[in-house]
């Protein structure tokens, strides 16, 4: 039959689109053949309306103390150790007052306080800029306030890293596996792969089992973790009775990590 090129291409195109749409619809409708299955949250999970932390660095004395808390997080979470700052991945680390609270330092400060290390991690903000910019909802805020990563969905665009005002996020610039100590690797927890962003998750996997975050557990009382919306919680008592500050409050992101300033005797001993 005689047919010109344009009509042929038009017919082929329409057939292809119809075929694909039809096949796709049928596959969708068929779905999977599982019967009534149910998904529920674990009964022993810790619950809160808004998880937060209070950190009192006056209770952290030596560099070993800081390292202990960092290792408590990084090792069980299979965070790789790179020896160069370019590829570095860190979920929790220490930095001095003038870097943790830029602009708040002044020349007449007690040098000991100016150089005091503060523990720095993701603030799990109330209005997180990172969640706002993520194009795939790979990072999202849970109902209990924790800002979580879905590594399956992350496309590695790093918009969240540009948006975070606190520098809390790290990217896997290369395969992390060779840089995780094989002997110490936690086989009950996944690693991440190259090309995705990662950060502190307030230990959601432990909260599900009814356990507090690892850094808190190993902090010897320097970190208190609790529900900011529970007026009777320990964290609320500390916030009401001591002077606490947050990082970059003027930006309006609403960090959930509070730092006690002038700790010492004011702070109630944790249970």
């Amino acid at each position: 039959m005689k047919i010109n090129r344009r009509d042929f291409i038009r017919m082929a195109g329409i057939t292809a689109v119809a075929g694909l749409t039809g096949a796709g619809t049928i596959a969708r409708l068929k779905g999977n053949s599982l019967e009534a299955a149910d998904y529920t949250p674990p009964a022993e999970a810790l619950k809160a309306k808004h998880w937060g932390m209070v950190i009192d660095v006056s209770k952290i004395a030596t560099p070993e103390d800081y390292q202990r808390m960092m290792d408590a997080c990084h090792i069980p979470h299979n965070v790789p150790g790179f020896d160069n700052p370019k590829d570095e991945i860190k979920w929790i680390w220490a930095d001095t007052y003038e870097h943790t609270f830029p602009g708040m330092e002044h020349p007449y400060m007690n040098p000991e306080f100016k150089e005091k290390n503060f523990l720095v991690l993701c603030n799990h903000c109330e209005k997180p800029a990172c969640v706002r910019v993520c194009p795939t909802k790979a990072t999202f805020k849970r109902a209990d306030g924790i800002v979580v990563m879905d590594y399956h969905r992350c496309i590695g665009c790093r918009f969240c890293m540009a948006a975070c005002p606190f520098g809390a996020r790290s990217f896997n610039w290369r395969d992390p596996r060779p840089f995780i100590n094989e002997a110490a690797m936690n086989r009950e927890y996944p690693t991440r792969t190259k090309g995705v962003v990662e950060k502190c998750t307030f230990c959601v996997e432990r909260l599900e089992k009814g356990e507090i975050p690892l850094c808190v557990e190993k902090s010897n009382g320097a970190i208190v973790f609790g529900d900011l919306e529970d007026p009777d919680s320990e964290i609320r008592n500390i916030l009401a009775s001591t002077y606490t500050i947050r990082r970059k409050p003027e930006l309006g992101t609403g960090p959930s990590i509070y730092y006690v300033i002038g700790g010492g005797g004011h702070v109630r001993e944790s249970a």
Binding site: Y39, A43, F140, D150, A184, P190, R192, V204, R206
Partner: protein, 159 residues
Amino acid sequence: MYNGGKIIIGLLIFAALVTSPFWTNAGRKVDVPEPKVDTPAIKEAQAALGKKEVCVEPRSFMRGGHMQLLNQWRDSALRQGKRVYTNSEGRTFNISLQNTCMKCHSNKKNFCDKCHNYLAVSPYCWDCHIAPKEEERAPAVAAGSEMAPAAAAPEEAKL
């Protein structure tokens, strides 16, 4: 047809190239994969429950549908915090590839890989999810980890 001779010859060559995997492998014998489900953990569960099928869902579904299930598991556990799965028989499981599925199917090379290799499928789950270490004995709980669970029978495997 304009240039008909060249076009027909070209089409024949194309057809030959596109079907080459079939006729170059004709007559070659490849064994149908037989994934092994005889790990100690599975045997233990079979004894405890008194039946052969102890997986999360029946084999008839899992064979073709395990990826659909895993995707639903992923979204439910990670994105909604619903980490407990109750299957069609009413048994509950903790949703975790590494700590539930692979605790029974600890013989990845003789189970998962058997079919995957046959079909030239290479899922990238294992880039992140740590594949079980294959040993002679059933793998023990990871030593030194602060998240070490008490390894219960698979149908109640908690983290």
